[in-house]
Amino acid sequence: MGLIGANGAGKTTIMKAMLGLNRVRRGTVAIANERVTQLHHAVLAENVGALIEHPAIYPFLTGWQQLQLITKDVTQLQWIVETLQMAAYIHQNAKHYSLGMRQQLGIAMALVRQPKLVVLDEPMNGLDPQAVKRLRQTIRELAQTGMTFFISSHILSELEKVIDDVLVIDHGRVILQTPMQQLRASYHQRLLLQTTDNAHALVWLQQHHYGCALQNDVITVAAPDKLNQLMAGLIAQNIQITRINEPAVDLETILLTQLDQVSGAGQ
């Protein structure tokens, strides 16, 4: 699940509350049917891995020692080092790590025990494109084994490649929660048309009960079931269609649209 929202929307706060790091004023947090509070969160130790804000790293330890704080299992340690390709620097002292290396180590610490739930707050921060690709693949592979990921990121183009569901929040409130597939489908059900006579075309479309609107010389037509019928109708009116396309909608557009709608409703 992807958690998205503007700066200050409450993404990190939600994640911290899930981990018992914040006091929850209203509502409750439960993981595996066990309540999580600031004073009691025993369920997290065995079931949850997390990277919140910045990687929690002791500068006097090597990356390997840092991972040993999470697990004693050498097989798990070797697996994560190999998977995230950290062998070249894992035995170096962490104080010499670059931003990207520290971030990789933070992610490795969250994943190494392969917990049931992984909470990642801005995991792509500071990673180079290859590392981002590797992380994406790892998340996909682990998700297929049954692990659940709860990820927040501002790099929406990357986020949308790994998530199945999206949760959009604004000022601490959920404004959208839906499967990505459904979200994409709902945004794809419209066509953009350009014709030699947009005004005439709009009138014809409205007369034939197509949901449509004209904006900046482009007609947006909602959910046309029979495209042939629409095109034939316009051509019969001597209107030439100069361009027709189905816009590709990315997560960024969806987020901006949702936030616009919320702020519009607020006004």
Partner: protein, 255 residues
């Protein structure tokens, strides 16, 4: 158990933990060198006080204890640690017990180093000869070591509490050292200045630090206004209070 393993790994991986021990031995050896030409009485006194080893030990302990707690907030690692533990009380108490273990090790080390330095620098001194309280020098050294350890519990508790409040270990170390070396003076000054309030003031935490001195010299009771048993009880009381308050602050602190 897992948190104890984590804490042990960190303590062992810190170079300071080992450098402090090396420094402690060097400083004790340095003092031992200076005692070679001293009178036999002074030599005995130096041996029974472990060549000032107990004081050096306390400094080491304050630094290690303060950084053990404060570094979690300094590096932001408290978040990870809190998720791994059942709750933050567990983290705090595990850290305390680990430092307690380190404290025991340091005291054993100081006694062993004293016993090792004695034949080299003070060969004329017999460890089994009678010293204070009709006990041998060795017994007095062991009792001193135990009393120092007992007194250190309150200091660790206080340092932990201070380290839980601040973002760096500097304040906890400074205050810890000040309390450790000036506390007794402040307490005796307060007790002699406000004699009418002595009934209450004698229970102040700084007064409890005179335990070791009062064991060595019963005349101290005139300064502390407490018996040896009362000092021991007071020490324990302040240790429990400082651990409790410190753990509460540690568990409630915003991270």
């Amino acid at each position: 158990m897992n948190i104890l393993r984590i804490e042990r790994l960190k303590l062992a991986a810190k170079r300071g933990t080992w450098w402090a021990i090396a420094l402690l031995i060097i400083l004790m050896a340095g003092i031992a060198v200076t005692t070679t030409s001293a009178t036999l009485s002074d030599q005995r006194f130096n041996i029974v006080s472990a060549y000032v080893g107990f004081q050096w030990l306390m400094l080491v302990l304050i630094v290690v204890a303060a950084s053990c707690v404060a570094m979690e907030f300094e590096y932001g690692t408290i978040k990870q640690l809190a998720v791994q533990a059942k709750n933050r009380w567990q983290v705090y108490l595990t850290k305390f017990s680990l430092i307690l273990g380190y404290d025991v090790c340091l005291h054993v080390l100081v006694v062993l180093v004293t016993l090792g330095l004695r034949p080299i620098f003070n060969p004329k001194i017999d460890m089994f000869a009678n010293y204070q309280h009709q006990l041998s020098l060795l017994s007095n050294l062991m009792i001193n070591s135990f009393l120092d350890f007992y007194g250190s519990l309150m200091i660790i508790g206080l340092v932990f509490l201070l380290a839980s409040v601040g973002h760096s270990s500097a304040i906890a170390i400074s205050v810890g050292v000040a309390v450790c070396f000036l506390g007794e003076g402040v307490s005796s000054l307060a007790l002699s200045t406000f004699k009418a309030l002595a009934v209450v003031l004698r229970w102040n935490p700084f007064n409890m630090m005179c335990l070791q001195e009062q064991y060595a010299n019963q005349d101290y009771q005139g300064i502390t206004h407490l018996t040896l048993a009362q000092l021991a009880g007071g020490n324990l009381m302040w240790t429990v209070i400082s651990i409790g308050v410190g753990a509460l602050i540690f568990s409630k602190r915003h991270i």
